[in-house]
Symmetry: C2
Subunit: 181 residues, 2 copies
Amino acid sequence: MSAITQSFILHFGEMGSKWGFNRTVGQILGLMIITEEMINAEQIAKTLSISRGNVSMALKEFQSWRLVKTVHIQGDRKEYYTAIGDIWKMAFTVMEERRKREVEPTLSALRDVLLTEAEDDKDVYAQQRINELHDLLEQATVWSDEFQKMDSANLKRLVKLGSGVGKVINIKDKLIKNKEN
Amino acid sequence: MSAITQSFILHFGEMGSKWGFNRTVGQILGLMIITEEMINAEQIAKTLSISRGNVSMALKEFQSWRLVKTVHIQGDRKEYYTAIGDIWKMAFTVMEERRKREVEPTLSALRDVLLTEAEDDKDVYAQQRINELHDLLEQATVWSDEFQKMDSANLKRLVKLGSGVGKVINIKDKLIKNKEN
DNA sequence: CTAAACTTTCAGTATTTATTGAAAGTTTAG
DNA sequence: CTAAACTTTCAATAAATACTGAAAGTTTAG
């Protein structure tokens, strides 16, 4: 493993551990991202010095995250794996999958709470705040849905909008005003 | 503690644990969000059935996350705490703080890797992918900076843009095209 | 059908992270 | 200044999470 690979994998794994995966899962994803060829489970285990069982578990997790694709190579009994799509697509896929796992259940719980009848003023205040949070999370779902419909090229353009965000809001405002007139 | 409070805190804590805090820290934040009055450390410990020491540590963490403000109440030796700002401001504050903690160090590590000389074709490929990731993370910084400049009202408007994201990109395109002509 | 080549599972263990509570530190009323 | 009222720290411990490797399961070549 080259110095570049080594260093990248280490840091990407570290970052992965803050983004919903464990260190090992992050490292495997990092390895796949910077490896042009497809790789098999044994190569992963050997490269990262982790057990074969651990690799198997990580690959299973990737499947549920829609981040890795599997290929059978002619004349080889092993399965081969590679990262699905480019970095922009992957970033938004992670966003959407996290939304499903984390936001969705919370949203459902908040809805239940909002249907409970308030017993006193404190409850009324609480429900107002919970309602705001509910709206915020629901809106996050709308955004994420929109991202899922976009292809890599558009996602990349969106990301590059950058400091134009503030302006975009103004544009929206103007459009609305025009409609009103 | 009312049924509403109880249920909300439980779920918000769960969500917090996926968003960079531990369960307890999340629960405390949840409690503060739905409590109109300021509360003191003892009340927090009692309400959530956790130790006084744990509360102290959580409050210290909140300070570094800029999510809680402290107030001295006249005629009381205890310190009182409450969530800083509304839910929109808090959401973007969490985003910015996570960026500082997680993206910033990765970005710095990636820059180092990009400065390392490639030893072979595999390294060249790796550096291309690393460069893409670097650009993506750098752009995340630009976005986050922009959010920090916005007030709650504008953040709320931004969030509500929702399904207009796709259209916004098209608008941007048209503007660019007009300039080019 | 059989055995070799592979993958998955999971109980046991290691590692990491969170919590407690007692001791040390700090602040303020009197 | 002193003691009471509070907050913080941190070593010990509990709890949660991750990892290993051997056993069980699956697939395919012959």
